[in-house]
């Protein structure tokens, strides 16, 4: 019950934020919310299932290009393009997940990393359509959904918030369901879960697919809302970022990914106001954070009292 209040409260706050915060911050928030969706996708696999994937950029890029190319090359309107993007992400997640799950631990890390690198290189190789690293713009005229112009600040914000809310609540429900609990059981002790009769591989595979679709949705939303698709988003950096966001915010918590994404964004923003060498500050902050808040912000809150935190 408390969990639901928390979730709805967070969403209410985000709605309120639009009316209260200045345009600079609501603009940031729109972007942060889309990236937080990505982080949540990652959190399912990392925070709950305990699988450290270093290749989630592949799913994000699958969504990004799935939508971007559908609009750019095939002239599809936004809604079907979203469908294409989600389907494509699911397919990619299913195939790579199936293969990667034959490994475990560090090998799993590298296999996922390699698949993501392959995706990145394919994007570059297919430069005739993707324009490789330069990327391409998604025409403003194409960025309309249900007749709404997604480039409008207000519509963009609420579109991002809607996507976030859907993912947020769905995942919250998912992780407290039987499926979610089985993921945690697998994370805590895989052997025991197997002995108890759970089809561990199948469950993990399903988690990866869901995670892939969510990450792909974030990628598609990013292209649609911000009008750009480029190979940078398929690079290793974008596989490391959700890991960072989730670790900072609190892996295995529902609000952790959002907190982590918000935090990292404003850490960089704030540090760049103070000094040109802001990465130095960010690096020191990360070190300090992991020294003193080992389970991430939400994770620490949960440990130090708010034990009901989902």
């Amino acid at each position: 019950m408390k969990a639901w209040l928390l979730h709805l409260g967070v969403l209410a706050l985000l709605v309120l934020a639009w009316f209260v915060l200045p345009p600079y911050h609501t603009g940031n928030l729109a972007r942060i919310l889309v990236l937080a969706v990505y982080a949540q996708g990652f959190n399912l696999v990392f925070g709950y299932a305990g699988l450290l994937s270093l290749g989630h950029a592949l799913f994000f890029a699958a969504g990004l290009y799935g939508l971007g190319l559908s609009i750019q090359q095939f002239g599809l309107p936004a809604l079907p393009a979203i469908g294409v993007a989600l389907f494509f992400s699911a397919a990619v997640a299913a195939v790579t997940g199936y293969l990667a799950l034959r490994t475990r631990g560090v090998a799993f890390m590298i296999v996922t990393l390699m698949f993501a690198q392959t995706g990145y290189l394919v994007v570059l190789y297919a430069g005739t359509w993707t324009r490789g690293d330069e990327g391409f713009v998604i025409a403003r005229a194409a960025r309309t959904l249900f007749g709404l112009d997604l480039a409008d600040e207000r519509i963009r914000y609420f579109a991002a918030l809607t996507l976030f809310a859907i993912v947020f609540l769905s995942l919250a429900a998912l992780v407290s369901s039987g499926f979610g609990r089985s993921l945690v059981a697998i994370r805590e002790n895989e052997e025991r879960a197997r002995l108890l009769g759970y089809d561990v591989q199948r469950i993990k595979w399903r988690a990866i697919i869901v995670s892939g679709v969510v990450s792909g949705a974030a990628g598609a939303a990013y292209a649609l809302l911000f009008g750009y698709a480029g190979a940078t988003f398929a690079s290793v950096q974008y596989s490391i970022l959700p890991l960072l966001w989730v670790l900072l915010g609190g892996p295995g918590t529902t609000i952790g990914p959002l907190i982590g994404t918000v935090f990292m964004f404003y850490l960089v923003d704030f540090a760049s106001e103070i000094t040109d060498a802001y990465l130095l500050l960010v690096g020191l902050a990360l070190i300090a954070l992991t020294l003193f808040l080992p389970r991430g912000i939400a994770g620490e809150l949960r440990r130090r009292g708010l034990t009901w935190l989902p």
Binding site: Y24, G27, D133, E134, G135, V137, G227, A231, D269, D276
Partner: protein, 464 residues
Amino acid sequence: MSRRLRSSLMRTAPDSAAPGSTVQPGRRRTLKTLAAGALGGTGALGGAGTLAGLAGLSGHVQAQSAEPIRIGFQVHRTGIGAAYGRWYDRTTTAAVARINEAGGINGRPVEIVAEDDGTDPKRGAEVIEKFVQKHECDIAFGTLFSHVVIGSAPRAGELKIPYFVVSEGHHVASGMLNRYTLQPGITDVRSQVQAMAPYVAENLGKKVTMLYADFAFGHDHRDYFSQAITDQGGEVIAKIAIPPTETSFTKYFPKIPRDTEVIYHVMVGPSVLTFVKEMGEFFGPSAPPIFGFIDSLEAVDIASPGLEFLEDTYFWEGFPRYAQVGEGGQDGEGNVNEFDADYRRAVGVDDNGASVTDAKDVSTYAHMFGCWETLNVVKAGMEAAGYRGPEDRAKLIEAVEAMSDMPHSADHPQGAKRFNGKTHQTFGHQHISKVTDGRLDLVHTTSIEDTLYPDEVDYTTRSF
């Protein structure tokens, strides 16, 4: 009150009078920014690299009481573009100092608000938002790397801020971007490459092997040059793409066919020196004529050990790095040096193209002039439009679109320009130099006509 806090409390929205402004119901508060201007003029927090010294406080500018014109400078301070970013920074500082010393723009001092984009397109877009919504800049300016430009341009268009890029990319003229993005201060890769073909075909050879970085910039070279050399009766007999992160190049050189008459190379990135060294090691004494783009060696000393191989090879130079003595190039264009000497002094570069304070610190001379010239175009545009504030942004763009010929002058030290208002791209002279005794000596200057190509877009037909 701190400037940031004040900014976040002021919700300055575009005036309702401005065409197509985004309206946020119940939140607009058109606050005068004069008060902020007084604070902004000092850039007290030193935040975001505000160059405080320029904000109307330099010397004898009478514009202290006038609110500054804020130019958001999207600069590559970190990331792969950092070496260029530093020189873009210095050139911009010098250009703004010169403008302010002459009285600013419309009597108002120019203030640069710099933000690092990390040479990353996501951050680039965020920085544009910051310029508009937090720093209240009049225009955004200064980006080099194409992927950052393309990633940022949609936001600039949506936020309706004029975005003057100094990128050399063909993306502006290709029509991919929007009416708010302009490139009036530097020529684009298509016109550069195209203009090289006649000289190469005539003087170096007709059978060309191209070695290029396997990413968008390199692909542009591959595509445009292939077309251009074919038009000259030549042919590209081999196209060797090299991944941009490659660090060892020897394995690519065996792919060069024996009957190559001239090698054309354009590589970028930190490994370029290795590329040149290994090319030299591969060929030894028996190399065909070699033509490259100085992009490969910007900020690198031609006289570096290992680069001896470059002797007698040719380079495209946007702007000759070494101060040229005597008449320059074709066309009776005259002495390339005419306005070059003053420009060099202003930006702190010596006659060898290196920093006057550190002879090892070689500049990115072929590109950075773009910042200088763009800012002068901005000034001319704002003056022509009678620019008063963000409500006049569209007028500014229209004023710049109306420009065409810009003569060779202290405002345009690289050479005369011809701006195409429809494609938002400028065209100018391209230079070819030969490495002689460890220096780059100008051997040819193209006409502007050599560099022209048919229009691919007419931005003036698009609405604001």
